[in-house]
Symmetry: C2
Subunit: 109 residues, 2 copies
């Protein structure tokens, strides 16, 4: 659930989506995209949470070049088209440079 | 669900949490914090998705000063302590500068 990432700076892609009416094929494609993303150069980790009507996926990347390469990946581009045509009613995608990060692991310091 | 934000740059606070065993009082405090955050100078919007064992909340802010002021808010600080003591087994908090954003509203261009 919580990605283990290196010291900043690195990049986050925040993808927030509201589901559409048609989810046929979505789970399989989402799993395939996750598997492909993990194998991309510069991929650092991913976090996601989904409710019935939508969800948030944040993926972390070494640099903007890694993000651009993943966006242009042929199989990912096909999934993006399917997403817009069928799975998502709306979404927002934001690319952000992580400047500070800290974690709490259950131990109050 | 999807926050309507101005043109970048602005800032995102990505809060990813794994729930602890004790959720007494959590929902009330979370609602109160959301209400307080919305009233803070520089608050731009919030998105969140929660599953049974954790969730992601991304809040958007005009600048780092707004984020610092909210972090130091007395009632928010008390909630942060409660969170570490009771509600969260683990969490990660990342502050990121949003550099690019785009939205899809259901219309394939």
């Amino acid at each position: 659930m919580i990605a283990v990432t290196p010291e900043p700076p690195y990049y986050a892609v925040i993808f927030t989506a509201q589901s559409g009416a048609d989810d046929a094929g979505y789970a399989e494609t989402a799993a395939r995209m996750l598997s492909l993303a993990r194998a991309q150069p510069g991929f650092l980790g991913v976090e996601s949470a989904h409710e019935a009507d939508g969800g948030i996926t944040v993926s972390y990347w070494r640099d903007l070049e890694s993000i651009s390469a993943w966006r242009r990946h042929v199989e990912h581009q096909a999934a993006q088209r399917e997403g817009r045509a069928r799975w998502y009613a709306r979404y927002a995608l934001r690319v952000a440079r992580v400047e500070r990060a800290h974690a709490f692991d259950g131990t109050t310091i």
